[in-house]
Symmetry: C2
């Protein structure tokens, strides 16, 4: 039963029942300091006096004071008693600034993120519990810069069967998503004397920024409906490709180009970096196997959990040719001292227990249904607009009608609460591309998809 | 009840009872493929035939085949039936290489890691469950490169009261441990035209490597029993310090030097990077508050969960002067696309619910007892050897007797299963230091501490 007590000039309410007297006293005092009811510098009664006031054991008060001193709310100086710390005022100031939530559009058809509301929270938590209960203490220590052995073992099996990657666990480097992995590779290339990275002429600007920040010069290879035109690689020392599903056009690299690019690498000593960001999501036939399998000594395979599970995990992986492994892990060790061990052992358990496959299969079906709805709506409302890149992934490319600009459509959509993205930001060259939208259907939660598609079709055909 | 069935030439055991027929069939087939009992290329019976054989519904077999095709174990081509995928052989090869466990010494008194067996696994998992249940879906998306708002809010309050940091949430950048944070700062300095980073003449070689990899030249300032001799900073553009507990000597930066270095920064426009790696662990009086509070516009405060919780979390934080925040987050966004959102919301919940304070207080008491035991043993067995740096942290400095070398002691200890580390690896200068050991008492699990201390004292006094 809470009891009101008036001591050192304040009415405080303290639940004294049960065994949680100390915790109750601690919480009461902490809140009083945190909210400013007990002001900085205030002298508290001695533990003996307060204990007598409250009719509780003196040690209980002393323990509570001790905890709050340890937490920095109170100070105790020999001879001057226990006081409210001056820092308490700073805490009030520090936390008074509310963090502004980022303004999020109501509807979002921009590419790049899966539906984070589909993340299997309960299954993940269950895997975390199993993994963390079983993990050795060293899993919580500074890790091997390659990543946890459990995860590399689980990934090796998964990548071999699901993506056809030629892999053993000692060739895998776990990293904080593919962006970090690309950075590690660019720095490795730079350290080995490379000066240039070729990229697809249409691709993520962020990847070009990573390469440039590592000191590499960017060259481009054109992209057409068969993927990157790899016959134009010339003497680039390395190339970054999205062979399974070109980002953002959605083309799969044609078979003869797959052969060509690995021949180029073998002949020139160049390195191919295969960004397999959404290789799990192919809808209309077997997934295209990893390019890496054609030439494991010349291709780095890069994968990520950002599309298959969630970007917020921040987990990716590289499968690195044997001759580069030591260089890459040396760079990783200088970049951070390891990616979260808890998340790594959890993902290992999630893969080994079949949870990862179940999630991929479930979301693949869901995304395929989304694609079908989006394509059907576009064919119905804007039958003249070419749609491409639909056999895989979480986005498609939509050519805009003559006379429309990307910016015009994007602005009209924004006025209806729909966020869209054009093709222009992906263009690595000064040459303009015909106007198009890169429409991502992965991002909206299920309940928002219908509204998002309706707004898109309305914006594309405003006069109907 | 498991039933033995002989079909396509193999005896397979299938549990057909209950509602889990499909799962049982899937598991049976998956294991048979994984272990090589069903060989790559093998044609499986049609779903109709197998269903008839087993007396189960055809859809059950078709669903199981579909799942295994999706997982890559089987392939299904129209017209040629369902076969065991060729990749199955690659999976066997990929996972045949067992990951070698790293050889770990039986006893470990090297510095740098806390006792990872003291990590509060159950409390952490409970916080993860609360946090992940409550988190918005966007916590699983690509995050603000500053880090999750919940965590920055919780850290602002904690750092203000526990470490006296002058902080608001918008000045915090969450990073993958302090090593990454230092890298972000070095690249920011480099981008702004700095050429040199001053470091303490005794310090972590890994930190010097990070700075050098960013293109900065390393200068050194001497270290004595009052910490870094900051009067010798001269015109260095920035300095990395460990003011609360110099690593590895254990000295606290003297008050007049604290004032001097912030004056230096204000006068010269230089930047101080405060590495507060173990500021929570001070035993004999109130923790020394953060240097940053003296000059928040000139000092970056860097903290980490690697000592207070576990290195394997890979979570650290910077509190950055307002004028540098945008530059630092731009570098962070190019380094990775965010540190694990799940770990971030979990840590926020762990701090807000008081779990972090409880863990710090519990481990502070435990480490203090360890220190007392270690110091008492050294005073008893090697009373002539000076011990210093004992008021805080997880390590102390032990001067070696005349005539002993670090390497000699380390080798003798290794022969008894005890890993030790000397001072020499921390020396950033060409000038030799008197031989000493940096003895870390944080690493061993509780049950191994007695044995570790006994071996240390035996090695130090081998002839007694």
């Amino acid at each position: 039963m809470p009891e009101s007590w008036a001591t050192f000039g304040l009415d405080l309410h303290l639940d004294r029942t049960g065994s949680r007297v100390r915790a109750g006293l601690e919480n009461t005092l902490r809140e009083a300091v945190r909210t400013g009811r007990l002001v900085p510098g205030l002298l508290l009664p001695s533990s003996r006096a307060l204990a007598a006031d409250l009719g509780i054991a003196r040690n209980t008060v002393a323990d509570a004071y001790g905890q709050l001193v340890a937490e920095g709310w109170l100070t105790a100086e020999r001879g001057s008693g226990t006081r409210v710390a001056d820092r308490a005022a700073a805490v009030q100031a520090a936390t008074a600034t509310a963090v502004q939530p980022s303004g999020r559009p109501r509807y979002d058809l921009r590419p790049g993120s899966p539906d984070t509301s589909a993340f299997p929270r309960q299954a993940w938590l269950a895997a975390a519990r199993r993994a963390l209960t079983a993990a050795p203490a060293e899993a919580l220590g500074y890790s091997d810069p390659r990543g946890r052995p459990e995860l590399r073992q689980a990934l090796a099996g998964y990548l071999a069967r699901a993506r056809g990657v030629q892999v053993t666990p000692d060739r895998i480097v776990v990293c904080a998503g593919f962006t970090q992995g690309l950075g590690l590779l660019c720095q490795t290339l730079r350290n080995r004397g490379a000066t240039t990275l070729a990229v697809e002429a249409l691709g993520l600007a962020a990847h070009r920024d990573v390469a440039a920040a590592s000191g590499l010069t960017i060259a481009t290879v054109p992209v057409d409906s068969h993927g990157a035109v790899v016959s134009q690689l010339g003497n680039a020392g390395a190339v970054l490709l999205t062979p399974a599903h070109q980002f953002p056009t959605g083309a799969a690299l044609a078979p003869q180009r797959r052969s060509h690019v690995v021949d180029w690498a073998a002949d020139s000593g160049g390195l191919v970096i295969e960004d397999d960001y959404d290789g799990e999501f192919r809808y209309d036939r077997q997934p295209v196997g990893a390019l890496q399998a054609l030439a494991p000594g010349h291709v780095v395979y890069g994968g990520t959990a950002s599309k298959s599970l969630a970007p917020g995990l921040g987990l990716g992986w590289l499968v690195v040719p044997a001759k580069l492994v030591d260089d890459v892990i040396a760079v990783k060790a200088r970049t951070d001292r390891g990616t979260s061990g808890i998340d790594q052992v959890t993902l290992a358990e999630f893969i080994s227990s079949g949870g990862y496959d179940r999630q991929v299969r479930r979301t693949r079906l869901a995304y395929r249904r989304r694609r079908d709805r989006l394509v059907a709506a576009l064919r119905e409302h804007s039958p003249a607009l070419p749609v491409s890149g639909i056999t895989a992934g979480l986005h498609l490319l939509l050519q805009l009608p003559a006379g429309q600009t990307e910016q015009g459509i994007i602005a009209r959509a924004a006025a209806r609460g729909l966020a869209l993205e054009g093709l222009a930001p992906y263009n690595a060259t000064p040459d303009p591309q015909p106007p198009a939208l890169v429409v991502g259907y992965g991002t909206p939660p299920e309940h928002a998809l219908t509204g998002a598609i309706a707004r898109l079709t309305a914006v594309l055909a405003p006069d109907r």
